[in-house]
């Protein structure tokens, strides 16, 4: 743990005010930090032993394949959450926009212009969100809500709400169905994104500032950092991840439609929270979000294999969020006493 910010966090939550901390508080703090590792291990163990059809290579590859788009959105959105800005609702519009642009533009002009156009769209999303939140100090939830309306509106206007199909046997389609050994390409993209973004968050000045901004916004600003730029950066990272998620999603079925990413906003946030990244900002990591994604996906897979209906799956997800955050909140309080 050579990372100074982690040390500050550890100091703030567990060791700072009083030397005498009850065992209950210690257990809670440990649960808040490490509960997800235990839960994931237990869940996987139970699934391997008790659930028929889980422990096949085919099924596990399938879990990762399905988890990839939402996972890529979630690892990117971790930046916005850690910077203390709750979430980016507009990922719904961003993912759909990038998927539609990729297929619609590549059908006419080829892949390079399509990717450039999608990058341009992602940059616009990131900059508009970032400027409104970072410089105008507007609430991130409402800003990204309005950019969702605007983005989806523009997308539906230009696409006419229709479904776009890629050409049969295109490079995109073969990427969507492709595998390296047993591992689907989409899962590899998810892992690469996790590694890159994790390095960005922990090894660069930018990542350091994002985290310190989440810990103490005022101190970061007084320290001479241009906080507005940092927020724009965080939203840009989210926007470019959402763009890549859109590419992966488009490759799955070789089609794109404006309604294809409904629910990605809150589902990605759920994975981030379950992974243990704090919504108060400052605390959390990209690999934790990946773990949250894995946990939620494995849980969904297990419930599907056990023939448990979608309603119960949603209930389980809601309960998990409340439980994860309750433990975090109780640990904070116990640590303060």
């Amino acid at each position: 743990m050579g990372d100074p910010l982690t040390q500050v966090n550890a100091l703030a939550t567990s060791e700072a005010p009083n030397k005498e901390i009850s065992t209950g508080a210690k257990v809670l703090a440990w649960m808040a930090d490490n509960g997800i590792f235990v839960l994931t291990a237990v869940l996987i163990a139970v699934a391997v032993i008790g659930v028929e059809g889980f422990a096949s290579l085919q099924n596990i590859a399938d879990v990762f394949h399905r988890a990839a788009p939402i996972g890529i959105v979630a690892v990117g959105m971790t930046f916005v959450v850690i910077s203390g800005n709750y979430l980016d609702l507009s990922v719904v519009a961003q993912v759909a926009t990038s998927a539609v642009i990729l297929i619609a533009v590549s059908n006419e002009y080829g892949y390079i212009p399509a990717i450039l156009a999608a990058m341009l769209a992602a940059a616009v999303f990131g900059i508009v969100n970032g400027v409104a939140v970072g410089y105008f100090k507007a609430n991130a939830v409402i800003v990204t809500l309005s950019t969702t309306y605007i983005g989806l509106g523009l997308l539906r206007f230009f696409s006419g709400g229709s479904i776009f199909f890629g050409p049969y046997e295109s490079p995109l389609a073969s990427f969507g169905a492709g595998k390296l050994g047993p591992v689907p390409y989409s899962a590899i993209v998810l892992v690469i994104m996790t590694i890159l973004l994790s390095l960005l968050l922990t090894r660069t000045n930018f990542g350091f500032t994002v985290r310190s901004f989440g810990v103490n916004e005022r101190a970061t600003r007084l320290g001479g950092t241009n906080t507005g730029l940092v927020i724009i950066g965080a939203f840009l990272v989210t926007a470019f991840s959402a763009m890549i998620a859109g590419f992966v999603l488009a490759a799955f079925s070789n089609t794109a439609v404006s309604a294809m990413s409904t629910g990605y906003d809150f589902r990605a946030l759920a994975a981030i929270i379950v992974g243990g990244t704090s919504v108060f900002g400052g605390k959390g990591s990209v690999p934790r979000t990946l773990l949250g994604v894995v946990f939620v996906s494995v849980l969904t897979n297990v419930l599907v294999l056990l023939n448990i209906s979608f309603g119960y799956q949603q209930m389980a997800l809601g309960f998990l969020i409340a439980a994860a955050v309750s433990i975090d909140a109780l640990a904070r309080r116990a640590g303060k006493k």
Binding site: K137, L145, T147, R156, F157, N205, T225, Y312, G318, A322
Partner: protein
């Protein structure tokens, strides 16, 4: 608010039908507006309630799945009370950020609505009563509009005139000061979430009655629209500033704009873009935000060229 006035004057000049066909407009406003009114009470305290949309769906499903209509309506409203209590418990007692607590409830309640309804719309048993509920009582006033007006008047009196209601603003303005002044903050948070839960449940019950069926995924668009209404109406999201009248104006203007755009044959996507832009302008031109922009421009001018990294490091180690 000046923005709203400009838009409304524009509407008045170009599409007068909106106001002559006010029954249509009122009906459009009532559902989203009702949810937004309940939400306002929570926002005034500086909290959020994302679970309103799922509460609406669940209350509707519960109402429709009980054969006796009277009991069903009561049970539907009771759903709102229970949801409010659970939300407030998570926020006030356990101490979770209300945004995340109610996000969990959003998933949980939607799941519960799907489970109870077996993932399919439920038909209302007493269809006649449902149809009767949709009929106008006096002039264009249907029961739904009447309920909307009554809830508005009730909440307005509660927040502006009654002491408990006024204390909501104090809780949102400065929680510590409110506590020091002897306001039972936790109890107020409970009251606020129960109000928003019951109002959302009431909207769900009415929705079910009017459509004579309950859809477990009803209200998915209501959440964002009711938020938009409260924000455009000038309610400050960090609490302590805003009013029920503001929300009414916000909801009414959104409704009027939507109806006007529809009458002017503007496509739905363009309507979305328009509302999104309106919301973005409303939230960025808040006086407090503008002050922040001016000060950050000033810092940019004076603070340019400083080296960020070492000073950040010293700050951090001293502040912790």
């Amino acid at each position: 608010m000046a923005l709203l006035a400009a838009v409304l004057i524009g509407v008045l000049l170009t599409e007068q039908t909106v106001f002559t066909a006010y029954s249509v407009t009122l009906g459009r406003v009532a559902l989203v507006g009702l949810v937004a009114l309940g939400l306002t009470v929570v926002i005034l305290m500086g909290e959020l309630d994302l679970s309103v949309a799922s509460t609406l769906a669940l209350a509707g499903v519960v109402t429709a799945s009980i054969p006796d209509l009277g009991l069903g309506i009561l049970a539907g409203l009771a759903v709102g009370v229970v949801v409010g209590v659970v939300n407030a418990f998570l926020v006030a007692v356990i101490g979770i950020n209300s945004f995340i607590a109610t996000l969990g409830m959003l998933f949980f309640l939607r799941g519960l609505a799907l489970v109870i309804s077996n993932e399919a719309p439920i038909k209302l048993n007493n269809v006649e009563a449902g149809i009767a509920f949709g009929q106008p009582l006096i002039g264009p006033i249907t029961p739904r509009i009447l309920v909307f007006i009554l809830v508005f008047i009730g909440l307005q009196i509660f927040i502006a005139r009654i002491r408990v209601g006024r204390e909501f603003l104090a809780v949102g303005g400065n929680r510590q000061a409110a506590r020091d002044a002897g306001i039972p903050v936790k109890r107020r948070i409970f009251t606020g979430f129960i109000i928003s839960g019951v109002v959302a449940a009431g909207a769900g019950v009415m929705n079910t009655l009017e459509r004579t069926a309950a859809d477990p995924i009803a209200g998915s668009t209501v959440l964002l629209a009711s938020f938009a209404a409260a924000i455009i109406g000038g309610n400050y999201l960090k609490g302590g500033r805003g009013s029920v009248v503001g929300t009414l104006i916000g909801a009414a203007s959104l409704g009027i704009i939507q109806v006007a755009l529809t009458l002017a044959a503007v496509q739905v996507p363009i309507q979305q873009i328009f509302i999104g832009l309106l919301l973005l302008v409303a939230v960025t031109t808040d006086p407090n935000n503008l002050r922040a922009v001016i000060s950050s421009i000033r810092t940019l001018r004076t603070g340019r060229g400083k080296v960020a990294e070492p000073s950040v490091a010293t700050n951090r180690s001293t502040s912790s």
